[in-house]
Subunit: 321 residues, 2 copies
C-alpha cells in the first residue's frame, strides 16, 4: 500500500478550510426532538446539513477545493463526475469563485438534478451510467478544457471541507459521547472522524451504512478495502465505494459501522418528516435508521447525528405513511 499519510488532512487543514468556506456556507442549526429521544432512550443532536446550501453538506468540500486553487490553477475551470449532490455543489462553488464548471453526469440522472447543475451555469456532458463510461467522459473533458479535477471524496481538500460540519456540531454541543454520519465514498465520515479526533476529548465516531451497500462495514471487518460491486439501496448517495484514502482514515479513527435495513431507512425518514418536519433524503436518514434498529447499543448516550442532505423526490415522501 502506498503511503497516504501526506494526504490525510491535519487539524490546521480543517481549521483553514472552515475559515475559507465560512462566507459561502450556512452554519446549519442543530435540532432535537423529545419524541425521538423518548423512542431511543438517548439524547440526539441533529446537525441539519439538509438545510445547507444546495441541500447537502457537499458544498463544504466543493467550496474548500475550489477556493484552495490558485488563480492560475483554476483559470480553465473545475470538473467532476457525479449524478448527485456533489455535481450541484461544485457547480455552485465554481459560480461563487467566478470560474467555469464542467460536470459529467449519467444520462439517467434525475431531471431536477440536471436542471439544478445547469442553473448554476455548469456545462454538462452526459455519459453512460457505468463507471468506465464516466471516467472516459471525464478524461475527455479534462483533455479538452484543461479544467482542474475535483473528486467527490478522494481528495484531502474535499475531506477537510466535509469535516467542518462535525467541527461546528462539536462547537455547538458539549459532552457528546459519539457522532454518527452516513458512509458512501467516505468523504463525510472521514472528515467527521478527523474533527472528532482533533476537536473533542474522546468523542467516538461511528459510520452508518445500508445493508445493501455495506462495503465500509465489510472492509473494516476484513481489514482491507472491499469495493462495492452491486449496491442495492434506496440511499442513492451511498452507492459508491471507499477509496484507499478514505478507508485509511476511517480504519484509523472510526469506532464502528452500524448497518440499517431498507425498511429502517424509510422508518427514519418517517420520524424526521412527521415528528421534526424535516425533509431528509434516504442517505441522510441512514444514521437515525441504524440507531433505531440497534437502539440497545446506544441507549443513554448523547449522540450527534449528521443529517447529510435533503434532496429527495417528493414521490418518495408519499410512502412515509
Amino acid at each position: 500500500m502506498s503511503d497516504l499519510s501526506g494526504r490525510i488532512p491535519t487539524r490546521e487543514d480543517i481549521e483553514a478550510a472552515h475559515g475559507r468556506i465560512r462566507p459561502h456556507i450556512h452554519r446549519t442549526p442543530v435540532m432535537t426532538s423529545r419524541s425521538i429521544d423518548g423512542l431511543l432512550g438517548a439524547k440526539l443532536f441533529f446537525k441539519c446539513e439538509n438545510l445547507q446550501r444546495c441541500g447537502a453538506f457537499k458544498i463544504r468540500g466543493a467550496c474548500n477545493a475550489v477556493f484552495s486553487l490558485s488563480d492560475e490553477e483554476i483559470k480553465n475551470g473545475v470538473a467532476t463526475h457525479s449524478s448527485g449532490n456533489h455535481a450541484q455543489a461544485l457547480a455552485l462553488a465554481a459560480k461563487l469563485r467566478g470560474a467555469k464548471a464542467y460536470v459529467v453526469m449519467p444520462h439517467t440522472s434525475a431531471k431536477v438534478k440536471v436542471d439544478a447543475v445547469r442553473g448554476y451555469g455548469a456545462e454538462i456532458t452526459f455519459c453512460g451510467p457505468i463507471g468506465d463510461s464516466r471516467r472516459e467522459s471525464l478524461e475527455k473533458v479534462l483533455d479538452r478544457t484543461g479544467a482542474a479535477f475535483v473528486h467527490p471524496y478522494d481528495d484531502p481538500r474535499v475531506i477537510a471541507g466535509q469535516a467542518t460540519a462535525a467541527k461546528e456540531l462539536l462547537e455547538d454541543v458539549k459532552d457528546l459521547d459519539m457522532v454518527i454520519a452516513p458512509v458512501g465514498g467516505g468523504g463525510l465520515l472521514s472528515g467527521t472522524s478527523l474533527s472528532a479526533k482533533y476537536f473533542s476529548n474522546g468523542v467516538k465516531s461511528w459510520g452508518a451504512e445500508p445493508e445493501g451497500a455495506d462495503d465500509a462495514f465489510r472492509s473494516l471487518k476484513e481489514g482491507m478495502l472491499i469495493p462495492q460491486t452491486n449496491p442495492k439501496t434506496i440511499a442513492d448517495g451511498l452507492l459508491t465505494s471507499l477509496s484507499p484514502l478514505t478507508f485509511e482514515i476511517i480504519r484509523s479513527n472510526v469506532a464502528g459501522i452500524a448497518i440499517v435495513s431498507e425498511g429502517g431507512i424509510i422508518e427514519a425518514m418517517r420520524h424526521l418528516f412527521q415528528r421534526m418536519k424535516l425533509v431528509v433524503e434516504p442517505s441522510g436518514a441512514v444514521p437515525l435508521g441504524a440507531l433505531i434498529e440497534r437502539e440497545s447499543s446506544f441507549r443513554g448516550k448523547r449522540i450527534g447525528v449528521v443529517l447529510s442532505g435533503g434532496n429527495v423526490d417528493p414521490a418518495l415522501v408519499a410512502r412515509l405513511r
Copy 2:
C-alpha cells in the same frame, strides 16, 4: 355590537403569556432562503412554527389557557372541539399541567390526528362533521364532566398565547417592514397584529387567506363580519370563520389580507420543501403563496412570515413535483 374591548389582550397579557408558556414550548428558529428571496425580490424571515411542539403554533395558545386556570378551575379538566392542531395542542397542554382533556372530534378526522390526541391521554368524543353536531356534543361533554372550555381562537388567553410567536420573531429580527400570518378563525393573526402593535415601531401586519375561504378578506372589505359558509381549500386549518373578537382585533390592527389561489398554496409548499427542506402544511404555506402571487406589492421589503404548522399528509407531498 357588544363591547369587546375588555377581551382584547393587552401588552402585559402577552408578556405574561410568554413567561407562562416559555418552559413548555420551543423558541422556534427563524430561517431564510436566498433562492426564495431572489424569486421575490424581497428579504423573508420564516418563523418556523412547523418545528413547534405538536407541529404547530397552537400549543402556545393552548398552554397559555391551560396554565392560566386556577387549580379550582381546572380540577375537572379542559375540553374543546377541533379536528386539527388545537385538539393535539390542548391534549398536550393538559397533560403538561397534569389535567384531564376532553376533545370532541368529527368522526371523519384523520386517523393520525385521532391517534395523536389519544396519545397525549385525552378522551375523545366523536361527532358528526357539521358545526351544530360539534357544539351539541361539546355541550354534553361539558355538562357531564364540568371541564373548562378552551375555544380554538375565540378566547383572549388563546390569542395572547398565539401572539408570542410574532413577539419572538420581532425580538430576533430587527427592522422588519411587515409580518404576515395565515388567517382562519383569526387567533394567530389577532395575536400577530397585537404583538406588532405592542412590540415594534410600526411593523405592519398582514393576513393571508385562500381564495376559497376568504371570509376575512370579505369581512374587512365590507366592514362587517361575514361568516364562511362553504369553504373550499386544501388549507384545512383555515376553514373556519372569524369570531366577533378576532374580527374586531384584525379590523383595528391589520393592514390588509392577501389572497392566494389553490395552485399558489401548492407552489409555496413546493418551494418550502425543495429549497428549504421544510415540511409545511397547506395552511402554513398560505402566506408565502400570497407573497409569490402578489410579489409586485411586496418587492424590496423585509418580511416576517409565520410558517404556522407542519402537520401534512405525506401523500400530499407527492404532488409537489
